[in-house]
């Protein structure tokens, strides 16, 4: 069982975000970390490989400046190898270009029985990259998987829907996107962290993947205006002295909802 997990490396979400005024895109300076949303896919992949009894997990990422710290985290969790696509020409890529690049990287590493992504990234949350990759690779896909098993070489997934969930089956090879909650990700052990240092990370450029028209030139979109939204005026803040529930009752009375 060969499983490839997509791992996006993003600015630390704990640090407030800002827009780069020259390009009006999210600022991506500083060290990047693994998007926590992808830790669920890694854990899922490790468990599926374990259940299959053979195989390995490869992680694939596209990130600027040769960033590998998020990939090291994935390797420390137990992934066997990593591929990084890093190329200044990729700056400003839209979701379709990102998907094209990642699909080419998956193919270059020999393809996979299963490709796993998160349902959306924490910083960009376009939410289309996994399904775009499936279309490029000609794979069936199941998005929003909230439980995954492989029975006799066939995927069995509970797919989250707006009103509940669907049971979906699909032959391999395939692509899935997983929600947070599909599995509980493990923390890298000390041994895992040490082992990760010795694992190989292959770095490739867009040209080496044979992908043209990338970055700003490939993105058929341009940010034109950035404005501040109307702020909500802050209201009344009351410290509960044991009677604050009465303030809520009065508030609701004034609105005539009770």
């Amino acid at each position: 069982m060969k499983i490839t997990v997509l791992v996006k490396q993003i600015p630390d979400p704990a640090v407030p975000g800002s827009l780069d005024p020259s390009t009006n895109t999210l600022r991506r300076a500083g060290k990047l970390i693994m998007d926590e949303s992808d830790s669920y896919g890694i854990e899922m992949a490790l468990q599926l490989v374990h259940a299959a009894g053979d195989g390995a997990v490869t992680v694939v990422s596209m990130a600027p400046n040769g960033e590998v710290s998020g990939l090291r985290t994935a390797l420390a969790m137990g992934a066997a190898s990593a591929v990084l696509v890093s190329d200044p020409a990729l700056q400003g890529s839209d979701a379709l270009t990102t998907a094209t690049v990642l699909a080419a990287a998956i193919q270059r590493s020999g393809g996979a029985d299963l490709v796993i992504a998160a349902t959306e990234s924490s910083d960009g949350y376009t939410g289309t990259v996994p399904e775009q990759i499936a279309e490029i690779l000609g794979l069936p896909s199941i998005t929003f998987a909230r439980s995954v098993s492989i029975i006799d070489g066939t995927l069995a997934v509970n797919r989250q829907t707006e009103e509940g969930y669907d049971e979906v089956t699909c032959p391999l090879p395939a692509l899935i996107s997983v929600t947070a909650g599909v599995v509980e990700p493990r923390y890298p052990s000390f041994k895992g962290i040490m082992a990760a240092k010795a694992k190989q990370i292959e770095t490739v450029t867009a040209a080496e993947l044979g992908v043209g028209l990338v970055g700003w030139s490939g993105a058929d979109q341009q940010i034109t205006v950035v404005t501040k939204a109307d702020a909500r005026a802050a209201g009344e803040i009351i410290e509960d002295d044991g009677e604050a529930h009465l303030d809520i009752v009065r508030f609701l009375e004034n609105l005539k909802v009770i």
């Binding site: 794979l139 509960d240 508030f251």
Partner: protein
Amino acid sequence: MNIWVYAQSSNGAVTSTTLELVTKARSLGSVQAFVGGDGHAPAAILGEYGATKVYATGDLEGRLPGVAVAGAMHAVIQSGDQPDLILFPQSTEGRDVLARLSVKLGRTVLTNNVGIDIDGGSVSVTTAVFGGDVLVTTAFTGAAPFLAAFRPKSFAAEPAYGAPAEVVVAPIPDLGPTGTARVTAVHVEETSGPKLDEAAIVVSGGRGLGEAAKYEMVEQLAKLLKAAPGASRAIVDAGWVPYSYQVGQTGKVVKPLVYIACGISGATQHMVGMKGSKNIIAINKDKEAPIFGIADLGIVGDVHKVLPKLIEALGAR
């Protein structure tokens, strides 16, 4: 401008986000809707809101809508009916159709939008970032058709009292290996009481409730107020309540008259789902919690003390 709307159904009825998009689209040009499934039932309401034609794939036979509808849309476009713009609801299904179609057409996508503007032939859309504090407008610069997805409640849905739309069959082409996933069972996790995205009052609980059993306080309060119970993602991921309760960026968008947040910190991803509420009440023991920045009434207090008293006071009325 020739505009298509991907018309999504849920439990057999066209979704409210679809009707919002059809309403907006008819102010921008002529509207055709695209249905995954049978088109005759939705044709009446889609026509009422302004669509003149409904393309429908017919029964999906267990296929997932993403791959099936995108395939059918692509086939219609190749046969010569060229839309300038296709609008999608920002939903699991809308996203999947949009993504598959973008590859087939080689077009960029813009998602999570809350607004759209057309100036001559140029189309731009607006997204809200940083919890809704900043609005970013982006123009499509490539060739049509332009593909964009919109968050629920970005526009108001208003009927135009049009006649039922003409139904045209748009068969699903051979999808090869991409079409091999099959839905074998459908489970609906319905809540009792008003629907979360339609209720006049929403009472939501977060991690501050402490444990799953304490969510009962939220349900009791909701019942007394005839409100819908909601949740932050933290307690959905923890398995306390189903995903259908989730409010926020990756959950439902709500704009009730009153939103009551109990033990919710107010992360940007939660706020984008409820910031449009007319009145916001927050109960949180941390006076620095970001939720207080947008609350009309903020109670700095313990939910385990405030909620039981509130429930008792309302119950006694």
